[in-house]
Symmetry: C5
Subunit: 370 residues, 5 copies
């Protein structure tokens, strides 16, 4: 229930195969592949104009990079649905990508990383989609290949993460079209990182809602929520921590794929990543604190319950004993024949109970606060 | 109740917007904007004199830096209320600030950082205001832009944090007016850091008060207090830890914005920041320790309550049984016809109770200490 | 029961012996040595052909490396069963290995490491086999000695870990036969690391299964499972953490045993190792979280049990007291002679019980949720 | 009670004052200032002789360093009682100390640090006095200013920490008088560090005493002791950790204040500091372990108490029920008219109780060990 | 009982003494000094022969190093019993050791360290002896001074730790006699490190035995054992952690005391030390895990006990109430005159008890597993 079947990722599907074997190592089920038929779209642009096209299988097979870049245009080719191994292989051949790069694109359980080659730089990142109701996250791998005048992006599914950037590019005279292909890579990377903050906000909200409830009520559901949020935060950290290093790497070594003018923007993304990590750590600290409070208040509650039991026992046991004593069948017993004997006994019980209550009240045992 | 609505910061307001978009990402509500109408004040000074002015919209639009600095004066321009995007844009244009710097000034959830540009250095810091009663903190972002002969500061609200420095500057012949604009930047930075210690003192007081109470009483309120203080200390650490690195950065690379004569002062601020962090860590250690003690003493209390219950049960159960036995309706039972039978039974109960008490006393079960 | 006898490894068998003494420090029992009679197999190959042979004792004694490598062939010599000290010594002499290398091969409790010599590089790694039922792991040490044109591998037992690579090599025209001996070393190293992911998947499955059960039930068996999985993850980490450094070492210093063309592949293994470690850390975090949840829900359960007891006591104690009161033997007591007295008493008991239930219901004590 | 009023240090007294303002930020109360009237003592020495003098206000105002050092003598000037701001200012002017150095000397909440200036090096250290009874520590700041041929030391109070060194110096022909002023600085620093070990011994003793008691008894007082010792160890660590770095700094950069011959001695102090820190960490580990044991044994104790209660309930409840049954007033009941009926009932009670005891004994519930 | 008196080490015996004062800071008691009369033995050897001699006081006073080394022999001088200050001083003078080295040899609470001097290198190590029964460790300090052609070793007691090496040396034509004095130093260091593994094995055994018992039983003795083993592992770590750095130091800087040929052997010791530390960390992790399991199973046990109590209460309280009701003395009560009234009442009791048992059985409250 907490984890749907498909999220049980197998990391080891490829054992025994030669390195560089192209096998899709993600989640593959009938419905999904139906929805996300692999598509290849290109956007070729310069300051003057923008060509946007969905490539058919035929067009892809006759595709030549130089058709676009010879006129000084910049080319962005985006692939949805990396489970189509043949398609990825075809694209890889077109752009002369290293077999290991293709393997990494297909193996969707990679950690974010950067690999620099002579003609292109390869970036692996991860995008998240958080479901508030179930407090689970879907993640997809987003791969970037940045060449001198082209950019390839590979997504597992079409989640619309790049849509805002596309919208901006379609505007005539958009600033983004004046700038190099590296700026586009930055803009797309930035939209990946921005998504993280959206997830973070949701996690933060859930965490703060829980915090408000925690001191008044305790349920097993809360325990479940804390655990689930911890889970999500661990996953987020695993994605962003290495990404931080990747971007840091980009900002330091001035490889010639990113131009100096784009550097401040990359540094900005880096700052965002660091900020994200620190916010996440705060949330994690907060969750740990909540766990402690949960534990402490459960113990405190046991304390109160035991005390309630003790108070009840102390109130009734003496009275019950007195009743028992006067219920004994001795022939000669005091008070029994006394006309007010019964009331004396009742008074005795009441007096003892009253004294007990005074003692409890003094020790503050009757309040549910301490 | 613990967190008022406005402190629910959304970190992700800007998703889908181009980088460098100027949007205020802080808290904006009707009352606030009423109180803090954005104001721009300037102080132009040298050893000889000081000009202090509140700039009107008109004056700002005709403002020229060279009017002031051509005469060798140093200029400090302070902006209150960064939610006025247009104003910030206008100031940014006057001083040729990079769009990302303006974005950072407006996005008030930045972590402290330093960005060096050719003509100026940009510092981001955070100032706190602690409310003792609710144990919550308000924070505001304070941005510095230090040029060769000018200093810009941007505050979210007018919290009077810079007032002591202004007072010192107004004194004729003040030492601070002889020194460069970098010394003013230091002095303002120093007043930001000094504020931290004020918050630290309050947190420390609350923590020590709690510590004194902890061994005598335990309430859910204490749990709440510990949690709240931890929260505050996490927030403080998030602000000061990167600030430490920022200042360390300033003290090491001798960029030409800070002069060698100011370096010992910067190192002094650095020492303060380090000292602050270590004090904070001690408080955090102490809070963790208190949580442990709270847990241990709640368990210890459960122990005592259970023991009280056991003692009561052991005292009354045997007596009740004896009473029950002599209350049985057998025709022939011993003692029943004996004139002193009743007193024998009572004596038996008393004897057993006495023996129990002796046993409890020997095992130190009657003391509430162990 | 949890640990079979043989896994009690003695690390100190060699005390008092001179360094370089060749003593097998692994597990040695009758059955095992029966099964794994030490065998030496060689594969000599180049693009054109492949010779595969199981060396007899005689062949080994007349073995000369130059017989194979003089014709440009690459030689892979694999030894199963390192408990045969004499055999290891013989192989060591053939290839002029340093006594300490031989000692390390025989001492099967080494941590993964790399030692570079003039003529060869020595790698120590560890391979695992996880048993799902008992949640225990068997580990064996796999040693590599990579020379200019030969590769030696030493395994404790024949676990078939290298079989997939052999299968690939046997295919005529296999890519792997074109490449250098260093590529073979990489391919074998890669199959060792791939094994880790298989273990990781099993551990992950066990951990997630446990997680699903945890909130509904708690048994001592779960405690045992958590502990066992922690144990396994500690062992895995001890093997992979140093391995990561070993591979990192290989990818950085371009020693001349690994050629530049093999470097991207080594980096790929490095990425896998890092990915493995991070996945492992997540599992460990998750296990710690489960322990906390276990603790919290046990405490929560105590809470519920105590409450049940309190509810029962509060329902029956007043009624029992009333029954006791009317069971007293006073001569004059109210109600006793009243025809409906009995029913008044019963009604009183029922009323009190009803009021109690209403109170409990209001305090939500009757639900087992809170 | 745990913390006397004066130890509530305010770190923020100086807010709003210009940097370099000389204000004493320590504890100032009437009695104290009475006892510790500020005094200035000098010792001028060389191998041949030693002059020791308590400077009057007049002598101080006419003091000239060259009077002493021109004859090749080395001068040690010690100031007790840094709350006399004017005096510190006067000494500072005599030796041309930087305003920030004077500020640091007066602000007695500094962390240990080193500041190097052209003519002198400034060291800040902290000395402790542990009170065994209350398990609290008093600390005082000890500042060193080491010039070419003079040494200044500043203490908050006269705690006799330097007395052993003075005694050694007074001996005619003492080795210490032959050596440079840097050796004296070392000797004094060494006596500060030696004090730490004395405190450590006391803390260690308290910790071990507690450890011996812990498994036999548990009281809230132990909880208090553990907490207090943790407190002390945090404070010690805060003082010694930065001191370690300070000394390490001195041993590495061969500034010309410490001569090569003194280096081995400084390294020795460094080793002591490291040793101290590691011992402290062991004590801290030990205290954490004790906290865990305390928690575990309290829970264990709850277990035993609940079991005792259960045993009592199980022994008496059946018997009470039987007594109740035979106390019912049915007209026709078995056994009642039987002459031995009473004894049958008693036997039944005894038999059940006996069976219960056998069951408990078999489950080892009667032992207080498990 | 846990700690015998003599292990209360005082670290601060030397306060107030000049540095370099030679005072034995170890444990000194009458019996001990009787047993371990200080002895000085020398072994002078080369490939050709070996001279072994116990030096008398007289021989020591006339000892000249050149008598041995002038003939190309290598000299190993070993001192047992460092409490004889005069003897150590005498040896120190013979070999011109720095006063601080002698101080370190006598102060037996040093952490492992290395000090390089012009003519010799000084190594401080620590050897352990673990007592399985009491789970305590005795430690002794072993100091090495390695010169060009001599080696000095200092031990607190004669624990036979070097005996295996001596035995090897006595064999005619032993390899160790061919090699330099640095190889002997390595061999002795190696035997110190080997001892650690012996202790580690014992600790590991104790830990695994405990682990097997933990899930079936819980006693305070286990708590004690866990604590004691933690203690031992902390002590071991304190000794080996700095030793690792010391050896690492030796393997890196090629000082001329260790020859290149000995380097692989030193690296081997280094690997052992690292391996030791990681094994120790695993044991520590395991001990922490056991503590958690202990806590969890104690809580679980409380749970079971409370449930047992609740079950008993629920079974007997209704029956007791029914008995009480029919024991009331009302004149007119139903059933009382009914001939089968008694059996109706008993049946009612039995029915309620039966229903309760069914409910408990369904909720799995009767099993002791959950």
């Amino acid at each position: 229930m907490k984890k749907n079947h498909k999220s049980r990722k197998r990391l080891s599907k490829k054992i025994g195969m030669p390195p560089g074997s192209l096998v899709y190592v993600g989640v593959m089920d009938a419905n999904l592949s139906q929805m996300d038929k692999p598509t290849v779209t290109i956007m070729a642009y310069d300051a003057a104009g923008l060509t946007e096209k969905l490539l058919t299988a035929h067009e892809l097979s006759t595709f030549k990079l130089s058709d676009y870049t010879s006129t000084g245009k910049k080319l962005w080719l985006n692939v949805h649905g990396v489970h189509d191994t043949a398609l990825i292989k075809q694209v890889g051949d077109l752009f002369h990508l290293h077999p290991l790069v293709l393997e990494d694109i297909l193996n969707t359980h990679q950690r974010p990383k950067i690999d620099e080659f002579e003609d292109y730089v390869f970036l692996e990142t991860r995008s998240f989609k958080y479901d508030k109701a179930s407090m689970t996250m879907d993640s997809e791998q987003v791969s970037f290949v940045l060449g001198r005048d082209y950019l390839l992006t590979f997504q597992e599914r079409s989640t619309g993460i790049f849509e805002p950037v596309r919208t901006r590019m379609r505007v005539a005279g958009a600033h983004i079209r004046d700038l190099g292909i590296d700026y586009l890579a930055y803009a797309l990377l930035d939209s990946v990182v921005d998504r993280y903050f959206s997830v973070l906000d949701d996690v933060n909200d859930a965490s703060e809602t829980l915090e408000d409830l925690l001191l008044s009520r305790r349920t097993n559901a809360m325990l479940h929520t804390i655990h689930q949020l911890k889970h999500v935060s661990i996953e987020l950290r695993r994605a962003v921590w290495p990404l931080r290093e990747v971007i840091n790497n980009l900002t330091r070594n001035e490889n010639d794929f990113f131009k100096p003018a784009t550097m401040p923007y990359l540094r900005d993304v880096y700052d965002h990543a660091v900020n994200f990590i620190e916010s996440l750590e705060s949330i994690r600290d907060s969750l740990s604190g909540m766990m402690d409070i949960y534990m402490a208040s459960v113990s405190q509650r046991v304390n109160l319950e035991v005390r309630a039991l003790t108070v009840v026992a102390m109130l009734f046991m003496p009275a019950t004993l007195i009743a028992g004593i006067f219920g004994m069948n001795f022939e000669s017993m005091p008070l029994l024949k006394n006309a007010d004997g019964f009331w004396w006994a009742i008074s005795l019980m009441a007096t003892i109970a009253f004294i007990m209550i005074v003692i409890f009240w003094r020790r503050q045992w009757l309040s549910s606060k301490t």
